[in-house]
Symmetry: none
Subunit: 203 residues, 4 copies
């Protein structure tokens, strides 16, 4: 079982995650985190060496929660096309029933840390790379190998299209507090994914 310190650390991360995501790194102050956790500054700095460290942990936690959604949808789908559709659906669900406020943490972190905070920027790059290459392109590649995806399809292109559409839609959702954008884009991307199916697939 986790020691008391580890549990406290986890509690801080869980409470700080939504705050950082909703208000942004610069806008969020340690006082906010102190108020949310009920801890004093010393109690927080006992677990994190700096505000940035805390923000990194909070970001990681948010990415993990979002990843849980994706993994849950992908589970038990074996066909590449089905997995891509499930991927899209995961974000549709994320928009409709978000596990934390503030929209997509990677979108937020990528934009706000751009040109000012290398470590957060790197974290956002890693998370996005996992989705682009480690998830979508990987699914397409395996789909090509298995003949589920139409030959000639470019895995990287599919990844760029899906994630650009999704992130852009989440931006509009965040900007207007209107899920319609996400639904329209998800519909479109589903059509796009259907068009990737290999019709010559073996029985």
């Amino acid at each position: 079982m986790a020691t008391k310190g580890e549990r406290t650390r986890q509690r801080i991360v869980d409470l700080a995650g939504p705050i950082f995501n909703a208000r942004g790194y610069h806008t969020t102050t340690l006082t906010d985190v102190m108020a949310a956790t009920g801890l004093e500054k010393g109690g927080i700095y006992n677990h994190f060496g700096s505000k940035e460290d805390l923000a990194l942990a909070a970001y990681d936690r948010n990415v993990e929660l979002l990843g849980d959604l994706v993994r849950a949808e992908l589970a038990e789908r074996r066909n590449a096309i089905d997995r891509l559709l499930a991927f899209i659906d995961a974000y549709r669900r994320f928009a409709h029933d978000p596990p934390f406020p503030g929209g997509c943490p990677t979108l937020n972190t990528a934009v706000e840390s751009h040109g000012s905070d290398p470590r957060l920027q790197e974290r956002a790059r890693d998370a996005m790379r996992l989705l682009l290459d480690g998830t979508v392109a990987r699914i397409v590649r395996r789909g090509l190998e298995r003949g589920e995806v139409r030959p000639g399809t470019y895995p990287d292109a599919v990844a760029s299209v899906l994630l650009s559409g999704i992130e852009g839609a989440l931006l509009l959702h965040q900007l207007y507090d209107d899920v319609a954008h996400v639904d329209r884009v998800a519909d479109h991307l589903e059509d796009y994914v259907h068009s990737l199916r290999n019709e010559e697939a073996p029985g």
Copy 2:
């Protein structure tokens, strides 16, 4: 001829615009603007009542510059499909040869001001609304009227799809400093737009 104050104000905006866009609102300090303009604080505050006012003016200027690109592409294209393709191409060019550093100002402003700066947020909403409804959806609506666009096409859906894809692609471009994402997404969106052409068109 413009008065000296107006020229100075314009110079401040021109110099502050790239800074705010590249480093973000919170990260950018008045000292940065002072260094870039060579003015003292008093000289800047003579033209802007607050840092926020300056940021608003800088954002507006950036949006105007980006809008110039779009308008230049749209000019003299009358057919709806052509206009939508030109719209996409404007952003492709924006990514390849940006008039200022830091990526899409509306993306940046929308994200960073979210939940912290209502006025900047509103500006971003307005700018995006102009693109969504005032540009893309409007083109589609007129294309439907003229029979250039396939009946049954939803103007708002096209707007959501195009702008989500574009903004998402600009995000990836910004995150990895790799234009490939923009090109792939632009290619995809062009296919999508082609698919909207009314094949039953007269003549």
Copy 3:
């Protein structure tokens, strides 16, 4: 006739006087005076070398206006007792129908400039000295000479009592926006002055 510059200067003083008196020296900003006069900073500094100079002129003007009230009351009163009563009545009227807002300028200036602005402090001292010694004590002295005032009366004591009472009453008036304090104190001081009459006076 006064030159244009002199008229402008007078206009500035007339408009600045009430502002300085009502809001205080430190609280009043040149921007306030600019707004009230419609002039720009250059137009003001053309007539005054500094904010302090302007405040001095404004204070002098206010003192002059208050002095007009006193002189008007004293005029044509020859008997010392009558003149002292008139003096008290002048302040009663000042409280009931003030020529400018903010209460007694000497009270305000004396307090606010204490320990921070020697020139304003000196001006307040001069103005008060004129009232103490140049007016009240002087009246008493002449009244003693003429046998109108009871022998043994100390002119300086009368001056201290009258002006302390008056200024203190004006303070309470200003603090609670209630003239009752002034009326009560004026009544009391009138009794006091009556008690100074030389009952053994000739014919």
Copy 4:
């Protein structure tokens, strides 16, 4: 025993009180308080949320010190006339041997905060009201009930007269650095108070 923070806070107040009273609210800067206390800004803002909060605490402390003088004089005097004389004497002593420099804090605060700082103004009103109504008028009222004070005496009038005289005298004392004004006015007010004695008093 008081915690360290409370002792530091008290030390700040004790050191800031004389500064604020002697130089005024606007003229006193946090740097002054830093220099006097040896603390950095962070150390001060740990105990006070703003300069105004600190000034309020400092004012309260000064009022308390002055109140101690008054209470010490009033103690063990039961007769109303004696208590009023003691009240006057307290201020005479305050002028001769002030517990802090700068004169009467309520006078200073009332004047300087007038029209610019509502909270300080309110504090001054409260403090003065305690003296007017809670002390002087109250003593008179009880004196009337006990037959110590001449029937027909107006408690509020006595309060206005005493406090106006005292505050006005303190003003002159402050303006000329001359206690004579206070002594003369105190003498006069003592005569006045004596005249309020009920000569028909029983036994």
